[in-house]
Symmetry: C2
Subunit: 323 residues, 2 copies
Amino acid sequence: MVDVARLAGVSSMTVSRALREPDRVSPDTRRRIERAIGRVGYVPDLVASGLASQRTKVIAMIIPTLANSIFNDTVQGASDFLRTHGYQLLVGDSGYSEEEEEHLTMTLLGRRPDGLILTGTDHRPRARRLLSEAAIPVVETWELSNQPLDSVVGFSNRGAGQAMTRYLIERGYEHIGFLGTADRRAVRRCNGYEAALKEKGRPARVQLTEGPNWMQGAGLNFGKLMEKHPETDAVFCTSDILAAGALFECQRRGWAVPGRVALAGLGDFDIATEVVPPLTTLRIPRYEMGRRAAEVLLDRIEERVDSGITVDVGFEVIARASA
Amino acid sequence: MVDVARLAGVSSMTVSRALREPDRVSPDTRRRIERAIGRVGYVPDLVASGLASQRTKVIAMIIPTLANSIFNDTVQGASDFLRTHGYQLLVGDSGYSEEEEEHLTMTLLGRRPDGLILTGTDHRPRARRLLSEAAIPVVETWELSNQPLDSVVGFSNRGAGQAMTRYLIERGYEHIGFLGTADRRAVRRCNGYEAALKEKGRPARVQLTEGPNWMQGAGLNFGKLMEKHPETDAVFCTSDILAAGALFECQRRGWAVPGRVALAGLGDFDIATEVVPPLTTLRIPRYEMGRRAAEVLLDRIEERVDSGITVDVGFEVIARASA
DNA sequence: CTGTTAGCGCATTCAA
DNA sequence: TTGAATGCGCTAACAG
């Protein structure tokens, strides 16, 4: 930067200003500075900038997994918004583990982000303490909470499970099963499923798959569910991936869908519309949730709002041929 | 940190050392320091550390899109490796645009990463210049290159397209079509496809889809391809997603696969094994590619190797029922 | 094994 | 509109 300043015949302070508040520098010197920057190939050091100003322009984000999953769309939404506002997203994955989330929280806080986006509302006490001591705005996503750390941008997973189950009941299905992963949010959806059945005094049939939403496990566990409860005439899956896996298993068995068994998913992924028959599913605004989370976060950081807020982005049952 | 030092009765220098090189501090003081850290709730400032040491322990990575895609597995591989070695991954997406890649390169370099992982080997001249001036190790992935910036960990997209096409020829298909996106790597695969057909003096039938690997476009464009060239008896798709989309379109039309038309994909995603019939595909070690890229990068950063190297991670044709 | 001195590259605060 | 002094929190290089 001093090289640039020398070349432009000004002090480094003026260069710094020209970069951050161009209006407060005379048009003439500004042009000289810009030319000097080009000639020297100067790339501002945001690390030093962050240290000096105590504002890094970095937003940290923790998601359960980086690998190809549902959460990436939320990351994209957040990233798109942040980029247009001069912030960079720093993403880490917890591997679906609260312990790892706690550890990652500390690592990320070490980078002094201006804000933090979390997935879910379950966090270890130590992580909660770290966050409150860090005194930076936080947004929790993919769930709602009664005790938010700060702000929340999510939807009710319990409500989602309930809504879909009620839909299946209304459609006339008698023996409704549940196929899902065992993670926190899926369990909440399961609670909603159970609640909806209980309203009608019906029994629950739950089959959990191990690991994330792998399609492999879906076929296998769908099979288990159907063997335990052959009378099942509809299955609610906590993800379209699982539902598609179950559908393929039906194709292998020569079972008609929804004739032999109806299937419903969650997420409204691309695959849901393309599969034959297309999947009834629950649409969640994944991308928009990320965008809104980032928006709420910047509002807090730049002090346009002075206390945590909660945004329910909702969901919507999309009825298609599979159920 | 001074608080910690005071509480432990040592200088801040000793605290700094206890954190980075525990062995060079006496076990006794180390314990005192650790306790003090716990009491104060000290979280080391990696921004200041980065500025002082000129080593940020950050690796930047540019991928075409953050949203749910093939590249996320590579990100996960890199992230997993880096984490166990004390580095953090900073990911940005170029939106499949070289212009955006160039811009993002500058932004990311501003964070002073210790190394950089790129997707692909096509970069704008200005981006290349920025990178060489930054003088940090770089690894290009998802392709091989004759003029690497530094190191490369990838495979030949052209070779992959050629290998799959040859496989289809060997299997006895006469009229082989190509369905793919228009991005750089898919185009190389197409070149390989064309080369393989040329060996036999056969004509190419290429149908490009717009945008990324959306399943929606797959069915539509597969239809276009089949209408233009009804005699087509096999289609090579540059992604399993596209192949699955084409398969579903066949199901809608009541076409037997591979009876009416055979389908081959690329990627060996979960979906490839689950769909009915399972997809013949080209396996690419996506996760491993990210891991190896990170490994090669750290070797360069920590100066265990003194010049750029090229790693060909290869690919493998996986024959299944669809072709 | 531990402490001292100096400075990383920039931004804040003031004064000119 | 511009510049000078000072410090952000930490570490490199040395000395003890």
